[in-house]
Symmetry: C2
Amino acid sequence: MSSRPGPAAPPAADLARRLAVARGDEPADTVLHGARTLNVFTREWLEGDVAIVDGFVAGIGSYDGVERADLSGRYLIPGFVDPHLHIESSKLLLDEFARLVLPLGTTAVVADPHEVANVLGTDGVHWLLDAAAELPLDVYFMASSCVPASQFESPRRALTLGDLEGLLRRSRVLGVAEMMNFPGVVAGAPGELAKLRLARHVDGHAPGLGGKPLNAYAAAGIESDHEAASLEEGRERLRAGMWLLIREASGARNLHALLPLALEYGPHRLAFCTDDREPEHVADDGHINAIVREAVAAGLPVEDAVVMASFNPALYHGLCHLGAIAPGYQADILVLDELESFRPRQVLKRGAPVGEIATVAVPEWAKRTVHISSVERGDFAIPWRGGRARVIGLIPGQISTASLSEEIPSLAGFACADPARDLAKIVVLERHLETGRIGRGFVRGFGLQRGAFGSTVAHDAHNLVVVGVDDEAMLHVVVRLRELGGGLVVADADGVRAELALPVAGLLSDRSLAEVLSASRQVSAAVAALGVDFPQPVQTLAFLSLSVIPALKITDRGLIDVDRFQIVPLSL
Amino acid sequence: MSSRPGPAAPPAADLARRLAVARGDEPADTVLHGARTLNVFTREWLEGDVAIVDGFVAGIGSYDGVERADLSGRYLIPGFVDPHLHIESSKLLLDEFARLVLPLGTTAVVADPHEVANVLGTDGVHWLLDAAAELPLDVYFMASSCVPASQFESPRRALTLGDLEGLLRRSRVLGVAEMMNFPGVVAGAPGELAKLRLARHVDGHAPGLGGKPLNAYAAAGIESDHEAASLEEGRERLRAGMWLLIREASGARNLHALLPLALEYGPHRLAFCTDDREPEHVADDGHINAIVREAVAAGLPVEDAVVMASFNPALYHGLCHLGAIAPGYQADILVLDELESFRPRQVLKRGAPVGEIATVAVPEWAKRTVHISSVERGDFAIPWRGGRARVIGLIPGQISTASLSEEIPSLAGFACADPARDLAKIVVLERHLETGRIGRGFVRGFGLQRGAFGSTVAHDAHNLVVVGVDDEAMLHVVVRLRELGGGLVVADADGVRAELALPVAGLLSDRSLAEVLSASRQVSAAVAALGVDFPQPVQTLAFLSLSVIPALKITDRGLIDVDRFQIVPLSL
């Protein structure tokens, strides 16, 4: 038996019925009549009835069906497949995520659950796998390869090789997720090479890598990258034989830089992914459909854009039943009125409109994940005699940072924030095992004039990160986050100003999209009221603890020089 | 562990070394310097050294190596991969086949061993699998799905579902071979559907199928077809989501009919295959390289032609280590002086020139396969009272036939050949189990004026087929074939005129290519001397017993109306 992913071979009786419908000997369950259907193989629009039986396409031609939908003048395209995302960025549980993205045309996703894995370990991933089985959205997973993302991060516990092997044995797990420790892979670190031997299908993550190190990364068998940000990076990855997953996340947006490659080389070995999309971003703009819309508006032929959003990502992951409207493919079909907005008039999932989606049950242990011993203002204090310090420098619109050298003022022997120079204090508190470990530093670029805000969403280990210009406000943030069991909190010296509770793993809400958006907007407004005037500062904060993105980051273990890949002291 | 085909993951030490070479920290085993290398992903020619270590490409760039080949002015392309062939058509044992095709640039093949399987059963296939492991040529297999090709054929024994499952468990077996019983698949025959459930990767074979029946065939999960002969057939297969394997066999040649599809849609989901190529054809013209040459001469861009001959066939079969010159790919590389002949100046297999190829051992049981009880002239007699008969009508250059209605003369109550009207007698004798079963009929189109010729190569069951206008000559043929243990024999009333012994399964020679060619040319000349004046009459004869190619065929069980898929009487 082949172990290609996807549904098991249909029972013989179902297959016999599928063939009878294809032959025209039995009526289809549903016939979609009168529309033009995109053929992803030839990139043509074809006319003919689409016959659907038991959720699969039987054939395109002249067919009869029990139900017959007149779709004259409409367009049919395959459902979108997101080949790389972290669902946790939506802040939503799987069921609510499905309610959000299915109407936007995303009918399958391949998720790296590494945020949950950092907080809840394999228990959390098995819970997600079980929950996914109940959904109309097809959710596949990659086994999170980098928990922790590096030795500088502190998840609840590290995922071992045995943990990964166990995950890979579950049927929805397609391969090994993004190998973020790209310096380790390139250097041939035995622990990283051992992970590569667990599966043949391995996602990459190699920001800025090029030349011979990129050759090494590709030679290791890593098949894709979604971190390319420039045309030349993208071109180099394609030439090295890697799939290029063009990412349009809420933070990093690479579509416009990479789109010329699709025009130059055609759509092959290219796909779109969302990686990390915030709930507001999806609600306001869309999901994969928004990337298609933007790509088409920028001049990519519609047919190529849809191929890059459906067939190609399915092909990349070996999901050979997805991504096309053709005999034998799962009938995940978007009905469109026009070819500009890519807002589907209707979404058919396995041949039928999506019905009510059952609520995913959350186990109690998934809600008790913020473990911090008593905290006080003094925990944020940084002894300092003056002088220059390493300071994290924000780069607008990027999750990478600059490593700055700045004079830090001191008061009574302690380092101080300096709002006038846009210098804020940043602190990361270990929150999984109550170790009391705290990393302390400074960041420039938030524009924070007063108060503080913090989050238990703090990539990738998701400890508690707080930025502030006022230790009292920072204390309010931490105390409230502990009470909530995680989330986002904004405070000033007087107390909490706004909050979004994320009690599930400290990452996810158990509420509806509308409630999440409402609270999230209040948080954004409250942060703006503290003087921060660029988009998505909370998300920017959440990535300052990700130790595998250049140049200077901070974890509970201290400041991390990512380029040198070591912990560095605050003072220079 | 994924079960994707290809070599096992390299040992950790080998992978570490590969990465060290890729990084430039250790010298490569070999560096190919100065050439332009085809990048199959972007279809560009790139400059740079190709660094090879342990038989794999480490990287392309500026590299040092223990050996450094100056290839200035040359072109490097990936070795060719034949995605569908029957090696038995070469009449050569695996080692001699490898000696023949490797210098022509074919570095990997995916073989359906169904000729051997019909004669030697799974024992024969396991023998081939073991022999393949010793070769520098990469030989993969598909599990022969149709032994017998239909219920009208008599192999030594049928391959059961259990037999197929056993074959699929061997590491070089990639999936289920061409599902030739396409009427059975389309009709949903339970036995055929059961085969489809054995693997996700299934080759097709559906000559002339179109419309709804083709939808059914594709909906069954069959992924390719190599039988398309017209532009519209090819287009319809691509639109149905099937890979189109463009066949240039010795008999059926479809390149020129299908090439416009590559120009219209691009090279994607297209590949070249040889299917059945005679040894003379390969020796005189070439193998996959000849198809590339002809395609380029006909206007296909070189880059597209090479992609269709290397990367695409490897991709189709999931051989993710083959078909490209890029980091991590097996270093199967052709060095070309120009881009017209596609006759390689040098072939590197796993990074090195191909050395001496060891002889494949042939077990004794593989040489004792012609079991026919005593035969006499009377066995060829056909009682006949005159009148019209169903006659097989040859179609020049095709393996399909016409079903003709002809007046057959009789003499003393028996039907006679009539050379003046180009009517010859054709007889098929069961030769595996000594049943004495004989099918008898007539054929028009050979132009045979006297004598007879026959073969134990007689698709697919490989019983003994003889065509003649003289029963005495036919008897000489059968007696000699029995003595030889199989082969090709030409005789007239005076005795044997020429022969090619094929003692291995009655299909393969155990001699060198040169000896096979010499004998084969004598056979051709002797057949021509009997009045036959079109190319390859012996091969045409060998396909007259293939009961799955329209319209009228003959087996040891009688005349087969392939369109109605039933045995029919001679008389009309």
